[in-house]
């Protein structure tokens, strides 16, 4: 089954790579001009040489296949602005974004579980309304606005946290947590909201299921019922949403990373898009998409394992 799912994602991946490739072809801005700079206007020979090297005059499908072949072999090209191999840049930055996403998700879970359980258990009461209101608020507030507010309050006014930057956990894990707290929170709030709502609704659904009612009828105390039966089963869809959130956090961190100067894939991509750094755009978008697809695949498989009712 896992193999089947894996095979199913391949056409999607190929389509995604085509989308990425075509997007960068459509981006206005001549890559040759970008790479050679002002020399391009003087040195015809260099321009021609680069065009041939980059196969820019070949038909598009040929260019695409050549690019794909390189990608599969691990050659993701060199960045136009930094001249650094893109693969190297991605290798250093992927873990940072992964760390940030994991941090964000952890914060989201810490917020969502108590809130979601509370809302479901105390359904209809003021607690429920408050929790639901908070979760809607979390969805409605733009993450980068929250980021700005946090910087104003926590970094400028109270000086509790540093305004930006990144320290590697290998150097000083405590500082890493400090530096990443605000971006993780800004990112995590939206996920927390989604997770809360998800948990609440699946808990409610489970709580009405027959077997729970049976358990109650047998005399088990409310809390045991919740803990043993409801939560465990409600966790299945919760975990799947969790997994899907991770995928989206990973790529959705673009603006937050830029604001907080976190050297992750998001800020790399934002810069690359704006400076028309084609190799970086192509490779970066593809890698993010790959991660998202793989995570979704993993979630699918996990769901299959967790819920024996699904074949």
């Amino acid at each position: 089954m896992v193999i089947r799912r894996l095979v199913e994602t391949i056409p999607v991946l190929i389509l995604m790579s085509m989308l990425v490739f075509s997007l960068t072809i459509l981006l206005p801005g001549d890559p040759v001009l970008g790479m050679l700079g002002p020399t391009a206007e003087i040195d015809e020979v260099a321009v021609e040489r680069l065009r041939t090297e980059l196969r820019l005059d070949d038909p598009l499908p040929v260019q695409y296949l050549a690019w794909l072949r390189n990608v599969v072999q691990g050659d993701l090209g060199r960045s136009i602005s930094t001249k650094q191999p893109v693969a190297d840049a991605l290798l250093t930055r992927l873990p940072v974004t992964a760390l940030l996403s994991a941090y964000a998700l952890t914060i989201a879970v810490i917020i969502a579980v108590p809130l979601g359980v509370l809302a479901a258990v105390k359904r209809g009461t003021a607690w429920d309304i408050a929790a639901s209101a908070l979760s809607v608020l979390g969805l409605a507030v733009p993450g980068f606005w929250l980021a700005i507010l946090m910087i104003m309050l926590l970094a400028v006014n109270l000086k509790w946290l540093p305004a930006s930057g990144y320290v590697s956990p290998l150097e000083n894990p405590l500082e890493t947590l400090q530096h990443l707290f605000m971006p993780a929170l800004a990112l995590g709030v939206a996920s927390a909201a989604t997770l809360t709502r998800q948990l609440r609704s699946s808990l409610l659904e489970v709580l009405r299921e027959d077997y729970v009612l049976t358990a109650r009828a047998k005399g088990l105390r409310g809390q045991t019922v919740i803990a043993r039966h409801a939560l465990r089963n409600a966790l299945i869809p919760f975990v799947t949403v969790l997994g899907l959130s991770l995928g989206h956090l990973f790529g959705g961190s673009l603006i937050i990373e830029s604001i907080f100067l976190v050297p992750g894939v998001g800020s790399l991509l934002v810069n690359a898009i704006f400076t028309r750094d084609f190799p970086v755009i192509q490779a970066g978008t593809l890698v993010i998409a790959l991660v998202v697809v793989l995570v979704n695949l993993g979630v699918d498989v996990l769901y299959g394992f967790l819920d024996p009712r699904i074949a």
Binding site: G37, D43, S164
Partner: protein
Amino acid sequence: MTRDIAARATGTTLVGKLAERATTRRKLLGGAALGAAGLLLLDPRAGGVFAQDETPVRGGLARMAGFGALTSLDPYASLNSDCDRISYAAIYDTLIAMELDGSFSPQLSTEWTVSDDGLTYTFTIREGVSFHDGTPLDAAAVVFNFDRYRAEGTTYPYATPLRPITTVEAPDATTVVFTLANPSAPFLAGVSFAPIVSPTAVEQLGDDFQLQSVGSGPFRFTEWTPGSKATFDRNESYWLAAPDGQPLPYYDQLIIDAVPDDSVRLLNLRSGEFEYVERLSIRDVTTASADTSIKVHPTVGGTGYCLAMNPNQAPFDNKVLRQAVQAAVDRQSIIDNISFGEGYLSPLGFARDTWFYLEEPSPVYDPELAKQLLTEAGYPDGIDVSFSIINRPVDNQIAQIVADNLTEVGIRTTIDVLERTTWVELWNSRQGQIGSLIAGGGGTDPGLAASMYDPSAASNFAGYDSAPIQELIAEQDQISDQAERLRIWGEIGEIRIDDAVYVQIGIVPGYGASIANARDFAVHAHFLLEFDEAWTAE
């Protein structure tokens, strides 16, 4: 006969007098003696510290935040020389160093002479200096560097002042002779900008020389990941010694990082992430000066903002239309708004604290005149134009005010916000109409402003081609009398205003900042910081 100009030129301005001191290389006590006069010494924001009574502390880390990330360790390939210079100043040396008053002091070259006809410069190279990889720094190495910088198709950003050179030769190991095609005042400035890199390293590393480099400077390259910070360790065998006899520098390690946002950069300084930051936003100078844990220092020069109109295509190929725009723009209000009153007008784009600052001639602000000129240009019912800017906060502000000014007189303006690459391409391909850019504000030599009037220069985005101005610039390049050069620049100013291709809005003064305990770092024109003699007090 040769004239010996090893000694410093006598400054004719107050700046020059303040800058005279007996040092073996350019050194300005942090914050002191900057710019025009003792006013700065009294200005609490100058934050100058006279460190003569304190003993420098050896060791420690200096972390510096610039505004732009390092683009390349190779000066030849630098894509953003304004940012990269700071790193180059740390790991490379130059032959001579430029003082604020325009004079030069020895560095790798102990003395130099120029022939009477101004065509031959002879530099004596200091003995016993080696690059960090052990290669001896001799005349041949210097020749290698200059040949590289001025080669055909060079990408070295400061190649313009080196253009008059016809040959560079090393008759012996400690002498380098430059032969020029014509006398040139900016030539020495050009030499003072040129970092000397190790020829062996260039040959061995090829393209990778951009990612790891070898120089002879007070700090040695250790590591750098593009897009991230650069780390430089102390050069144990630096050729310049401190007063205590041990080699400089005092710091063990220098880390250069980038924080693009002005306010965040300052925040990071205040929260202890850095010891030095450059380019404070003018918004933050007052708050920063009030914070006793840091000190703010002014620099000579600043950031210049300029309007450009494309004279190569309709509609702005019409000179009268350009003049209408020039008359319609309220430059004083704009510069006041973007600089919180700290900025100043400068029609030629020269920094205020230099010998070559000119306030006149200056265009007039007269909306009524603008309307008349508009009709005269053939647009009695107005015209629609497109104003293109790079996506930056100050440019955004300028654009909106200018658009309002222009719309008032009948020039209906739409604003196009573009990314830098797109904007550059638009203007390089001469498709732009009117736009705003950062230009001017430099404080080194007026001859270096020549690129703005040279249609083949990359930074001349409007493609302004004025033969009369180019002739005048060539003329003043060959004169060394400052008063005479100024007179010629006055003439250039007249032509520039008449042509109205570039309209300088003004200059916002530059400030940098450091922690209160930082000592003896050198602040040079145009935000450049140097750490050779810097240290941090306990």
